[in-house]
């Protein structure tokens, strides 16, 4: 799908936030000089074309009571595939990336409680014989990320 100037205007505006009120689309449409129908139709097309990944409230994962931790390992080249298999087998591993560094494996653990994070990393260390470094989030800074559409 090809985006026109109005689609881009909508994407840029809606990354900044969406109102919480009875007629939010009407409010945004008026602000942008569009009709509500046109705004909804354009959003529907962009969603169908997967230009829009998600639309709605973004929740802080930790508000749900879960625990998360970024972890890294320095895995010797020769053992890499074996270690990948062991790490990925854990349901607590949400995503895992190979990265260009001596610490070449980076994954995120997601568990119900903080204690489980430690249990999983200890058990992975025993199983692989490698250290698992933990980088829990200390401060999350406000994110100004925008994709210029």
């Amino acid at each position: 799908m090809k985006l026109d100037a109005t689609d881009r205007l909508i994407l840029n505006r809606l990354q900044d936030g969406f109102p919480i009120c009875p007629d939010p689309f009407l409010k945004v449409a008026q602000e942008l000089g569009l009709t509500e129908d046109d705004l909804l139709a354009r959003l529907g097309r962009m969603k169908a074309a997967r230009i829009i990944t998600r639309f709605g409230p973004f929740y802080d994962a930790e508000a749900m009571g879960g625990a998360f931790c970024l972890c890294a390992m320095a895995v010797p080249e020769a053992d890499f595939e074996t270690v990948v298999t062991k790490v990925n087998a854990r349901p607590e591993v949400a995503h895992n990336y190979e990265r260009s560094h001596r610490l070449n494996m980076w994954f995120v653990l997601a568990t119900e409680t903080a204690a489980e994070i430690e249990a999983v990393t200890t058990s992975l260390e025993q199983e692989t014989g490698l250290r698992v470094l933990c980088f829990p989030k200390l401060t999350e800074f406000f994110i100004g990320f925008r994709v210029a559409a």
């Binding site: 994407l11 809606l14 990354q15 900044d16 936030g17 969406f18 919480i20 009120c21 009875p22 007629d23 689309f25 009407l26 959003l43 529907g44 969603k47 074309a49 230009i51 829009i52 990944t53 998600r54 639309f55 709605g56 409230p57 973004f58 929740y59 802080d60 994962a61 508000a63 749900m64 970024l70 890294a72 320095a74 790490v87 990925n88 949400a94 995503h95 895992n96 190979e98 990265r99 260009s100 560094h101 610490l103 494996m105 995120v108 470094l133 933990c134 980088f135 829990p136 989030k137 200390l138 401060t139 999350e140 800074f141 406000f142 994110i143 100004g144 990320f145 994709v147 210029a148 559409a149």
Partner: protein, 162 residues
């Protein structure tokens, strides 16, 4: 960040997204047996407390040409982390920015900032801009590019009961 059982039901009903209909909140409220004003008040309260970061559109940045990214990491003086971390996070090409503990001696870096761009060169340019912004408070930096996705599952949250 206290959330009660009703908030949890609201989270479960909206974390997949809002419907593209004129009254999306009324639709959620009806499904949950709440009135729309109560639902909106609770959503606003959760937003004020940071349980909801924002209500917004997340565009697919790959579809919009932002195909390159790198995890930049920085060793910033502890006393300057709060101010500089906030400035880096506010940049429009940084999608995540956290202070994390160092793991000495292996890992001296305490600020992590994910940089996005149209190309690897553009990511490197942005990285140079961040280095400049951090100035003398930054002792060292590095950038890690992902070379392979080894696992990717959704971080879909399962609200606990009650």
């Amino acid at each position: 960040m206290n959330i009660d059982a009703t908030d949890r039901r609201i989270i479960a009903a909206t974390q997949g997204g809002l419907a593209l209909v004129p009254q999306p909140y009324a639709m959620v409220a009806e499904k949950l047996g709440l009135d729309e004003a109560t639902l909106c008040a609770r959503l606003r309260a959760m937003q004020e407390r940071g349980v909801i970061r924002r209500v917004a559109v997340a565009p697919n940045h790959y579809a919009l040409g932002m195909v390159a990214n790198g995890m930049s990491v920085w060793d910033v003086e502890d006393g300057a982390v709060a101010e500089l971390g906030a400035r880096v996070g506010a940049l429009d090409y940084v999608s995540h920015c956290y202070e994390r503990p160092r793991a000495l001696p292996d890992w001296p870096y305490n600020i992590f900032a994910m940089i996005h761009g149209q190309s690897r060169d553009e990511v490197e340019e942005k990285r140079a801009q961040i280095a400049e912004l951090l100035g003398d408070a930054c002792r060292a930096g590095d950038i890690l590019y992902s070379t392979r996705i080894l696992k990717k599952t959704g971080l879909r949250l399962r609200p606990k009961e009650g």
